[in-house]
Symmetry: C2
Subunit: 190 residues, 2 copies
């Protein structure tokens, strides 16, 4: 059965890709519509404005993130495995067509996005950071991680380096991403 939401989902997928490849401002309806074989007006039918579209991309990601991290599978993960799960998301971004982090891609155009989108962006960033903080706290308590400083600060450091490296991976060096991952892990053991 081909439902009406079929195209809507495909639009979200493509929009997410192009948002992460080019950022909010440079991303356009034309990119999405042409790759889908439809006209830009058809995209406007599903998502009246650009900010609606970006907002739904963000909300869908946040829902997915929450579903994963709160789900039964994650409950069985130890802190290292949870961290690796997060890293894998970013590695997929980087290797799958040099994409940036969704949060970073929208943040880099922060001055140009509407306020409503900023709210969703702040929510998403807070959700990820909060989860990572709890993972670090758990690892510290169970002794599998060993580091100085506050878990919340450590979470900010790890998250910003992941965001940063997926932004400049194309610029920095051949293999900046794996270098950063290696160092993140080195700084979690003693």
């Amino acid at each position: 059965m081909k439902t009406s939401s079929d195209t809507k989902e495909k639009i979200l997928d493509l929009a997410k890709y192009h948002l992460q490849a080019r950022g909010y401002y440079a991303f356009s309806y034309h990119q999405v519509s042409s790759e889908l074989g439809i006209k830009n007006a058809a995209v406007h039918y599903h998502y009246p404005t650009k900010s609606h579209l970006a907002n739904d991309v963000l909300i869908r990601f946040m829902d997915w993130f929450k579903e994963c991290t709160l789900g039964p599978e994650h409950a069985g993960f130890d802190p290292w495995k949870k961290l690796d799960w997060l890293i894998a998301i970013y590695r997929d971004n980087v290797s799958g067509g040099n994409q940036m982090c969704l949060i970073g891609a929208l943040s880099s155009d922060y001055l140009m996005i509407p306020d409503s989108l900023k709210v969703a962006l702040n929510d998403t960033a807070a959700t990820v950071r909060k989860w990572l903080t709890s993972v670090l706290e758990e690892g510290l308590k169970t002794g599998v991680f060993d580091f100085k400083g506050k878990p919340s600060d450590k979470a900010s450091l790890i998250l910003t380096s992941l965001i940063g490296v997926s932004q400049v991976n194309r610029t920095l060096t051949e293999n900046a991403f794996e270098q950063v991952i290696e160092q993140i892990k080195q700084d979690l053991i003693r």
Copy 2:
């Protein structure tokens, strides 16, 4: 004496500001010209295309960076002071109107910038990373820093987190920048 390069310099200053505030793609000649009280055609006289302008902003930054780090003043700095000098650059970006790192701002539009600009961007990123690596090596040797892993990996981690946090400082939390700085320092001592 008012030289011809007076306006040219002002254009570079403004272009740098707007590049770091909005990224390459969203930044425009109009922003620069209007704030300077001239027309966009006058800017084109000094810098024929957008990529010429961005290129010169980048080159000027790289020259300044090299001049500082190779100059006599820096020779007297210990590794902590050198690191603080780099951090201060980023802190100025963030506090001076929520600007991003110049490298990060251009990297986020990497798919849209011309190849010639990519070269200058890669050069600049390599220059900074190389310098930071040498600072970390020096600190490790003299015993003022203590960390696991390779200095070059550590340099990539620190640099990407600085780039990342100046990108998402406006998104993440109230004081993400100082949190990240605090953790970077915690991870350099034992």
